[in-house]
């Protein structure tokens, strides 16, 4: 099946979930009435949420794809590698310190880069990085950082507690549309930059040295890609908190459909991830309406079994 056809199917699916996302919620609004003036506020709110879901889904999935390629490890993903919790910890510290929200992205970025360097070094056995050591160090760092977050919240929390715990499990509610627009810039830029590296990612995914023999400056590309994924993850953390497994589930499913070539994998995954996230968000809002389930819980419930299957069936991707 051709790329164009796959893209159009995904685009169609996206249109369907977007419409569903606009219609469904604590209050269902018929499609015909969604553009009416009295529904304007709800419409705007839901549209922003859908946009956030699309940005978050695409950003996390493309980060997953890029990390999986440069680390040549099918289990690499910002959440599992502790990048998300590193960024989260930095954000919590800056919240408690009362630093202006404008600087939150910067703090998140520093936290993300610091944790990725930490995990990478921990996982290194000699010059090799194995599956097990990488996941293990990612999980250790994740747990350690999450505990520090909880510790800080319980000591300094009070008014911030509710906000922070909500946010730790992921939340697509856009509390500031200007922040979201601001955040979208680095995320979109990052996704585009990773797409530019498609060819390099293809070569690196069959081996670092193989890539060198194809004329690719592997070290430079690897560093650039890791920094870009940290930038994307850190930016997303600021608007949606910590959402896990998205970078694992969607890329794996799309590799089964379109194969591992990044030139086609990246655009199809962006669309598929948007469909997935908008869908998950609809579930999170409507499943136990009016109670909202954190979206990170939904992605984890779907993601954990996928992760187990991947780990069990061997890591062919």
């Amino acid at each position: 099946m051709h790329l164009k056809r796959r893209l159009s199917i995904l685009l169609l699916l996206l249109c369907i979930v977007v419409i569903l996302g606009l219609v469904k919620g604590a209050v269902d609004i018929p499609l015909a009435d969604i553009l009416l003036k009295e529904n304007r506020a709800i419409f705007n709110m839901r549209l922003l949420r859908i946009l956030a879901a699309i940005i978050v889904g695409s950003g996390l999935s493309v980060s997953g794809i890029a990390l999986q390629a440069v680390l040549r490890n099918s289990l690499a993903e910002p959440y599992l590698l502790g990048t998300s919790s590193g960024a989260g910890l930095a954000v919590v510290i800056s919240m408690i310190a009362g630093i202006s929200k404008i600087y939150m992205p910067l703090a998140a970025f520093i936290g993300a880069v610091a944790s990725i360097i930490l995990v990478y070094n921990l996982a290194q056995e000699g010059s090799r990085i194995t599956d097990k050591s990488l996941v293990l160090s990612g999980v250790i760092i994740s747990i350690a950082f999450s505990s520090i977050i909880v510790f800080l919240v319980s000591i300094f929390g009070d008014k911030a507690v509710h906000e922070i715990t909500w946010w730790l499990w992921g939340n697509l509610e856009v509390y500031d549309y200007r922040l979201m627009l601001l955040i979208s810039i680095p995320v979109i830029f990052g996704i585009a930059a990773i797409y530019v590296f498609s060819q390099d990612l293809n070569a690196i995914s069959i081996g670092e040295e193989e890539a060198v023999h194809l004329g690719i400056d592997t070290q430079k590309i690897k560093k650039a890609v890791i920094l870009i994924t940290a930038l994307i993850t850190a930016s997303l953390i600021c608007i949606c908190g910590i959402i896990g497994f998205v970078g694992l589930i969607v890329p794996h499913m799309m590799r089964l459909v379109v194969g591992p070539n990044h030139k086609t994998l990246i655009p199809t995954t962006c669309l598929a991830a948007s469909v997935f996230m908008v869908g998950c968000d609809i579930f999170s809002r409507t499943l136990f309406s009016p109670i909202e389930i954190p979206i990170g819980v939904i992605t984890a419930i779907i993601g954990a079994p996928v992760f187990i299957i991947l780990l069990k069936k061997g890591k062919r991707i």
């Binding site: 390629a69 040549r72 490890n73 099918s74 530019v196 590296f197 498609s198 060819q199 390099d200 293809n202 070569a203 995914s205 069959i206 081996g207 040295e209 193989e210 060198v212 023999h213 194809l214 004329g215 690719i216 400056d217 590799r255 194969g259 591992p260 070539n261 030139k263 890591k315 062919r316 991707i317």
Partner: protein, 262 residues
């Protein structure tokens, strides 16, 4: 004979230790050269230094008179290709996709492969007799098939000079001969200069027109097979006793192993 690659007093290795200690070697246009030597003598390190996969510590290398370290890496890879022992990857690329990657040195970053690139990949696949399984995934292939695919990828780079690191190490004798015959054919018909590491001294003897024998990071002896593969050289370098007679078919040296215990 035109000198294609002039390696002059090259040294280098990992960390602080130099594994290669001042090697000089000329690779001539049209050579079919074998690099032999015991484990740890620096064969792979030498090839990694020459192909810029490892940083050189001393010496110079010239490709047709041009310093290779001043060449753009992609331009370098348009002329010189490398086939590693085996590729193993978790990513299920198809054979066709892997071979097309050989076109990367010729492509700009966002450029998709053109029809011409596809044709070159097809040509490489047919030269290595891999056309029949071009749509299979790389992880579905046998070791021999995979080796042909990596050679096809290197050919898709359209190199003048091809390095191979033990291209026959994972293969049974039938497939060993198949691969070496293929390389010999490419050497003769496509005028491709080939340099490869070989473990099997008799294969090196039967196929190569020149052999370099490495010992402790230096060249112990280089020349035609009959000059290098003498029982004395082998005894000194490999620390093992062998008999050398002639292969009745190729008339080249044939090494006969002598078991220490019977």
């Amino acid at each position: 004979m035109e000198v294609l690659l002039k390696i002059s007093n090259v040294s280098g290795g990992y960390y602080k230790e130099d594994i290669i200690k001042g090697i000089s070697l000329d690779i001539n246009h049209g050579d079919f050269m074998g690099i032999i030597g015991p484990n740890g003598s620096g064969k792979t390190t030498l090839l990694r230094l020459i192909t810029r996969a490892l940083h050189i510590k001393g010496g110079e290398i010239f490709f047709k008179g041009e310093n290779i370290f001043q060449m753009d890496l992609k331009e370098f890879c348009q002329r010189i290709a490398f086939v590693s022992q085996d590729i193993s990857t978790d990513f299920s690329f198809t054979v066709n996709e892997i071979v097309l990657m050989g076109r990367i040195p010729h492509l700009k970053r966002l450029q998709f492969e053109t029809k011409k690139d596809m044709e070159i990949a097809l040509e490489a696949l047919s030269l290595t007799d891999a056309l029949s399984f071009r749509d299979k995934r790389i992880d579905e292939l046998s070791a021999g098939e995979r080796q042909r695919v990596t050679i096809a990828r290197a050919l898709a780079q359209e190199p003048v000079l091809l390095f191979l690191d033990e291209p026959t190490s994972h293969l049974d004798i039938g497939h060993q001969i198949q691969i070496l015959d293929l390389l010999k054919r490419l050497n003769r018909k496509s005028n491709l200069t080939i340099v490869m590491i070989l473990h099997d001294l008799n294969l090196a003897s039967a196929y190569c027109n020149r052999i370099a024998l490495l010992d402790k990071g230096a060249i112990y002896k280089q020349g035609r097979p009959e000059e290098v593969l003498t029982y004395r050289n082998i005894e000194v370098v490999y620390k093992t006793i062998v008999l050398v007679n002639n292969n009745p078919v190729t008339l080249r040296p044939n090494i006969v192993l002598v078991p220490g215990e019977k």
